[in-house]
């Protein structure tokens, strides 16, 4: 077994707003080494670092928009988001929850700060990740997996070192709550100061870390502060992280989907023709209708 080394540590870029409710730093796809093909199956990662929102009578957020060809995964650390879709679905994603939405053949949805959260204001911190679907599943039926925090299985680290929440995939003997179309491991590692956690993924899996809280060292070498993103190399399998102070780290690792990517706005397909069809289907109401 060989060591998976750090390939790149990315600091958060200037934030921008998605709608008026999501103040995000984009990590994927962003230029050198963090493009969609390098990071596949993770094709987009927006990180809303902790930000205080003033009370607002009108919930802030993103209005009606479509998706096709991939899954959106929303991981809530602070604050609450309410969402609605054209299939009549909806719900609230609260602190610690994960929403895994398979947009697949297409949904229209909107996402806003939950009404009460909006009224009282507060800290907001979330990750939105887009997971690509293989060509054969891009036009499958849309679905949701609403994973309440209590339903996410945990691996308890030795010596009261904290826990690993297994959102998808497997960590030691603990199986993740979400089902996925291709092999993916997604964890929240919640480590107490000084605790060490070890991980092992196949070398060719694309693997990354995002430090949500606190700071860590990777492989006893590289120090990574809060809000920084670490791309791990494809050179080995094993690595470990150690919390310099109490830390929360999002860990992503997935088998690459080696297919062409044709992406434009909210559609991620394999060919340009499929993209044109997506626009046409959206314009003609095949994604349904949803009031703004």
């Amino acid at each position: 077994m060989s060591v998976k080394q750090v390939e790149l540590i990315a600091s958060p870029k200037e934030p921008h707003f998605v709608g008026d409710g999501f103040r995000v730093h984009n990590f994927i796809p962003s230029g050198f080494r963090l493009d969609m093909q390098r990071m596949t199956p993770f094709i987009m990662l927006d990180y809303a670092s902790k930000h205080y929102f003033e009370p607002s009578p009108q919930p802030k957020g993103v209005g009606v928009h479509p998706h096709r060809g991939f899954e959106t995964v929303t991981i809530a650390y602070k604050g609450k988001v309410a969402h609605h879709d054209s299939g009549g679905g909806g719900g609230v994603i609260s602190e610690g929850d994960v929403q895994w939405m398979t947009a697949a053949s297409g949904v229209l949805h909107k996402e806003y700060h939950e009404e009460n959260f909006s009224k009282t204001g507060g800290d907001f911190q979330m990750v939105q990740l887009w997971v690509n679907l293989p060509s054969k599943d891009k036009m499958s039926t849309p679905k949701y997996q609403a994973l309440r925090n209590a339903s996410i299985n945990r691996y308890t680290l030795e010596n009261n070192g904290g826990e690993i929440e297994v959102i998808a995939g497997k960590y030691n003997n603990i199986i993740g709550a979400a089902s996925t179309f291709t092999p993916i491991h997604l964890y929240n590692a919640k480590l107490k100061s000084g605790a060490i956690a070890s991980f092992s993924f196949p070398a060719h899996y694309n693997t990354a870390l995002l430090v949500i809280e606190g700071s860590i060292t990777v492989n006893n070498k590289e120090k990574v502060p809060t809000d920084h993103f670490v791309l791990m190399g494809n050179d080995g399998e094993d690595f470990n992280i150690q919390a310099i102070e109490n830390a929360i780290v999002l860990i992503l690792s997935g088998e690459p989907i080696n297919e062409p990517i044709a992406a434009h706005g909210p559609f991620v397909m394999n060919t340009r023709q499929e993209l044109m069809e997506a626009f046409d289907d959206f314009n003609k109401g095949k994604f349904g209708y949803l009031e703004d």
Binding site: H65, P66, S86, G87, G88, G89, T141, P142, K143, H264, G265, P266, M276, F279, D280, D281, F282, N283, K284, G285, K286, F287, G288, Y289, E291, D292
Partner: protein, 199 residues
């Protein structure tokens, strides 16, 4: 959104050395226009045809009651200008505004003249573009005079496949010359016809 390069667009459509166009394009001003800012306002003299490399612009007028009327959207690969102002030396009747932060090339008359001198193929191509533009304007006038809201909407989505999701509905309604409620109704009716809910 994907960007659109004028040099490669022209050199792929006319038989001319890419470097020759490059020199001419490099003489033109290129600017990033922040969302909400104007390239032209009513009453000014319009000196350029604007070519959108990236982003989205709209050309519109404001009537005596203060209501906006959108004449044209211009996304990647589109030209937009107030021709009466540029070619007939009048004060502009229109506003041209960035709806997204956009990368825009400012083409002046000199650019067209130089390119015409360099290549007769360009003259042919430019004529073709002009005829196409006039054809689309004729179609648009006819639709505004005679077509139902749904017919106008279907034409809009064939001309601008990606604009619906980039602008507020009220702007699409303004372009179509219908009330926003009528646009909602058309889109709801189409969704009823085409959408099979999975839930």
């Amino acid at each position: 959104m994907n960007s659109f390069n004028l040099v490669s667009y022209l050199s792929s459509n006319i038989d001319i050395d890419e470097n020759q166009i490059k020199v001419l394009v490099e003489n033109c001003k290129s600017k990033t226009v922040v969302k909400g800012n104007y390239l032209l306002q009513e009453g000014e003299k319009c000196k350029h045809t604007f070519f959108v490399e990236q982003g989205l612009l709209r050309q519109y007028s404001i009537d005596s009651k203060g209501k906006e009327h959108i004449l044209q959207f211009a996304s990647e690969g589109w030209f937009v200008s107030d021709r009466e102002s540029v070619y007939f030396n009048q004060a502009a009747n229109y506003y041209i505004q960035a709806l997204e932060t956009s990368k825009v090339l400012f083409l002046d008359e000199q650019f067209i003249l130089e390119l015409s001198k360099t290549s007769s193929k360009f003259v042919e191509f430019n004529n073709r573009l002009l005829h196409n533009h006039i054809r689309n304007l004729q179609k648009r006038i006819n639709l505004l005079l005679s077509a139902t809201a749904e017919e106008r909407y279907l034409d809009f989505i064939s001309v601008y496949p990606d604009v619906l999701m980039r602008v507020p509905q009220s702007m699409v309604a303004s372009y179509l010359g219908i009330a926003p409620e009528s646009l909602s109704r058309v889109r709801k009716d189409m969704a009823k016809k085409h959408f099979t809910s999975s839930s």
